[in-house]
Symmetry: C2
Subunit: 613 residues, 2 copies
């Protein structure tokens, strides 16, 4: 029979020799693998695996030692466990023959950094360093390097460093150089022993291929690699004499372009994952950036907001301009041939999850369960019908600091306007709204800088909240499109895997074939938008008052908090405890620490919140 | 045998012919009766009765109609129920013969107002008015007359009214004239029908004696009676032509001095309470003011803080000065012969109760119960050992507005400094601290105005929280003395009853014999005080920024909230609800309103929180 007839016949009988790729998305609390058909992007099966150590932000699990404020650590072996469990589970769920998998791609939270030996061994796996916090992964939301970031920014401004405007004039405490300088200054022995300061995005690829390749995306956005150069030795020496060779000895490495193959799946990794040895492994990438092609949104002016634990905003442009407070602009940082811009909000779903975990009384959980809803859904349903401003509240979305446009991780959260009749769900709504206002601030800043945002596309777990999407549409006065995949980043990684395997010539073409979007799902309501304008005016006043130096109370409180922690660590824990007859030990035992931490809750809600970082 | 021997003998055998008085304290959520021995103030038995209708601040119970924001109503018959239940129960608990009771005294929250007919019948008891919110009691914390208070204050300033400085230049929306003007303007039919605008403090005495006597304390502090005059007809007419005769036709009445007898217990009231007909009934009084003699603190410079749902500060002085933002100064307003000053914080225990009801997750209740503690106690124990400032937070204690020194009930609450690691108990502590800062603001204002605060004595339910007391001592840098009675106001009312019955010549002498105080129970800790100075500096900056006009966001949010309410009432409830598919009715049914309201929780905690207003 003719070829076409045979193909149709085979498809009908399920015998067609389809090819598949696996995308693995590493989020803040878990990793998720998705099996995708290369011909059309169909997602055939997925599986998640929660990191056993979750996020360590109060206590180092191994020693039980208390971590200072603003720390956030992880354990690298947790990432390998994802490969071991989630990948075979996804293959099984998809019901395909793993022999037909032609490539694997990964994306990661960033900037998430691992100190390693030359062979990639994480320093926390050396017995002598296992109790040392600085030997562990510094997760993206580790914000304790703010003093170092401040010094980097001040010095860059004084010296007029050419790379500085590419990052909106301010680099983040989350990034490679700030975290590296903190490591040098707080634990020089670990710093000296460290041979590579590796993005987790690249470390996991290293585990798959056996070879270290540094991806162009994080190197540019988080490692300040611009026009082929890192910050100079002179600059680094001026920060700290011991930091002079940081870029060349700890950071610099062979760069891999996005969509390229970083190598072939090693025998060890094949055994771990059940995938065929020798298949293509895509160069590492970042969750937000891989999502743009997955949402078919890589054209200039199309801003993709990946809304999960935090929100990353990525957008291409054919123009290179300076956007105040953006995270960065990198030539080819999202796709070849365009300037890739990134901005972000450090806390979004994380803030909602914190609220539900720490501020919502039992009756809501009970009633939500009775109604068959998550607490998030229940709170949303309770409050969705209230007129805009009916709660009398305004909040700032800074509980995890501000990544754009203020770039200041010592800023903190605020809720203003509570009365004795304020209901829990009203505060929840004010927090939802505050993140929409934060996004509007970013959109307005891009547009004012000459790279107008003409379309707004949402990906990530939060797009499931229709009310939240409507709030964003009303606050932005823009239609909202949504990615037609529950696993945008994993799909994006799979798209990159297909390119790395040679199935498509480039990411743009693969995205057109495999990406999915629902266009203009939400439309702004004029009346609501008018009322939100008034709340946004209040948000903006507070944003500038607390964020631009008029009242630095948040910084002073952060300093007082650190002093308090230092005093307590020095054994002076009784300061201010004059009126109590409990000693510290008793309080320690009263407080069931793990249950107080949102990271340890493994419910469906937490899962849905962190589909993307 | 000689008389003295006989008395000793009788006392040993319990046969002595002791005399007793009953004090009844009407709080925000319940009334409490205490039986007190006149010879030494010993409290022999007490009983409480919770108001069946509690506080109506969302829904009018009878009709189910939704009340606007800032309303707070009560039902007068609830007060009579206290006489019927709590008084006999207290007599029974004391195990005394009611025939030996020689007097009864009462105190009440203020300014709490009842519109009545000429015979004292509350207007809500007329069938034709039973569904009209304005026919009910406007509780002290009904704050919806702020626009009227603003107009009164503006006009008084423009006209240079002589009474205005006696109230710190600003009268409160809680007071008789503001609430009365709101009544006129919003429900003129009720206003016209009303023959007396009666303080609940006097209305309950009216129920006991059958005669209406207006007490000098509320007449002065809440009714603006100064030097024998109310605000003039000209002034009232300028506010609203219909208000011209308000003072003379609705408010003015025969004044009774504090400690005097208002009359004799009527036959009906004797039947209701089980007390002897014809015993002395003391002139009505206010919970805070009666407490000063109960704490033996009526000398100049002794500030008594009655800390419960809210805090009232009362202090005598031999000087008449103007204290900015005080509630008022009244000649003989606390005891004869001295100027009585009053200031206050509208929300204190109410704020803590709101937090526990609306912001504390289930695990805390579970763990508190397991430890045999209230949630308040458990939160306090969890956080008491943290160094000052270790939470990184600062809060404003304005969730129920600000009574002193800003006198603005459209101010609202604020919590600043939250991060994703902020724990529930840390916010609780920040709220505790915020009320201490509010008290410090009042103390500093008094001292700066020339009436220095030299001693600080605490009464009310919150004195049981030793940690809170230590915070106050550290924040004020003053020792804290505490009343040695669980029922300060009721004891104070009993002291007034003893004077009314002629057992003592005056309140001062009765207080010396029957009052009780523990001196300097808490001492300031210098190190903690230094750290609190830094937090207080932040509090002061925010206090002035949000409270003195630099950013009127709280007023604007309150206005937006009212507009939203009005729009919803007008049937436009769907504004902003574009993204939800729930209609208002469904949401109404989703929300179990009564259980959401702190006033409806009848646990031990709520009781202990509201021993005083």
């Amino acid at each position: 029979m003719p070829t076409t007839e045979r193909a149709a016949d085979q498809e009908a009988s399920g015998l067609v020799d389809e090819r598949y790729v696996v995308g693995v998305d590493y989020g803040t609390l878990s990793g998720r693998a998705v099996v995708v058909r290369v011909s059309d992007g169909a997602e055939l099966g997925s599986a998640a695996f929660a990191y056993p150590h979750a996020v360590m932000d109060r206590i180092l699990a191994r020693s039980g030692v208390t971590l200072p404020p603003d720390w956030a650590l992880q354990v690298p072996s947790d990432y390998v466990d994802v490969l071991k469990h989630a990948v075979p589970d996804a293959i099984a769920a998809a019901g395909i023959d793993p022999a037909n998998v032609v490539g694997i791609g990964t994306d990661f939270t960033a900037c998430t950094m691992i100190p390693t030996l030359s062979d990639g061994t994480p320093l926390n796996e050396l017995p002598e360093f296992a109790d040392r916090p600085h030997a562990y992964v510094k997760l993206w939301k580790h914000h304790a390097a703010q003093p170092q970031a401040d010094r980097i920014n001040e010095l860059a401004a004084v010296r007029g460093e050419s790379w500085s405007p590419r990052y909106g004039g301010l680099i983040s405490s989350e990034w490679e150089f700030a975290k590296g300088l903190q490591l040098l200054e707080e634990d020089p022995e670990i710093y000296d022993r460290m041979q590579h300061w590796v993005e987790a995005a690249d470390w996991i690829v290293w585990q798959l291929t056996g070879t270290y390749v540094r991806n162009a995306c994080t190197a540019g956005y988080k490692g300040m690699l611009q026009d082929g150069e890192y910050p100079s030795r002179d600059f680094l020496k001026a920060l700290n004499p011991g930091f002079e060779t940081f870029a060349e000895t700890k950071v610099a490495h062979q760069i891999g372009q996005l969509g390229a193959s970083a190598g072939r799946l090693s025998a060890e990794a094949a055994a771990l994952t059940g995938l065929p040895e020798g298949i293509a492994v895509a160069v590492g990438n970042v969750d937000a950036h891989v999502t743009a092609p997955a949402a078919r949104a890589v054209k200039p002016g199309q801003m993709v907001a990946i809304m999960g634990t935090s929100t990353c905003h990525v957008m291409n442009s054919d123009r290179l301009v300076e956007v105040p407070g953006m995270c960065g602009v990198v030539d080819g940082g999202i796709v070849d041939g365009l300037y890739g811009y990134e901005a972000g909000q450090s806390g979004v779903g994380d803030i909602f999850a914190w609220f539900v975990e720490n501020q919502v009384p039992a009756r809501y959980s009970t009633e939500a369960a009775a109604a068959g809803l998550s607490v998030h859904q229940y709170l949303t349903e309770l409050i969705a019908g209230q007129p805009v401003g009916g709660h009398g509240l305004v909040a700032l979305d800074w509980a995890s600091g501000n990544r754009s446009v203020l770039v200041d991780h010592e800023l903190s959260g605020l809720v203003l306007g509570t009365t004795l009749t304020t209901r829990t769900e009203e505060i929840y709504r004010a927090l939802l709204e505050s993140t929409a206002f934060g996004t509007r601030k970013i959109v307005e800043t891009f547009t004012a800088a000459g790279v107008p945002v003409t379309e707004f596309i949402v990906a990530g777990g939060l797009l499931k909240n229709a009310f939240l999407m409507q709030v964003y549409s009303d606050v932005l006065r823009m239609p909202i499109s949504t990615i037609a995949s529950d696993q945008g980043p994993a799909l994006g990684s799979a798209i990159h895997a297909a390119v790395a395997a040679g199935v498509y010539p480039n990411v743009l073409a693969a995205g057109e074939a495999m990406g999915k979007v629902n266009t203009n799902v939400y439309q702004p309501n004029d009346e609501a938008a008018d009322a939100y304008d008034r709340l946004y005016a209040e948000y903006s006043l507070l944003h500038d008052y607390f964020g631009r130096g008029a009242n630095d109370v948040m910084h002073r409180l952060a300093a007082l908090r650190r002093e308090g922690f230092a005093a307590a660590s020095a054994g002076a824990a009784s300061v201010g405890a004059g009126g109590t007859d409990l000693d510290s030990l008793e309080q320690q035992s009263l407080e069931p620490e793990p249950e107080h931490k949102p990271e340890h809750s493994a419910g469906a809600t937490a899962q849905s919140m962190e589909a993307a970082k």
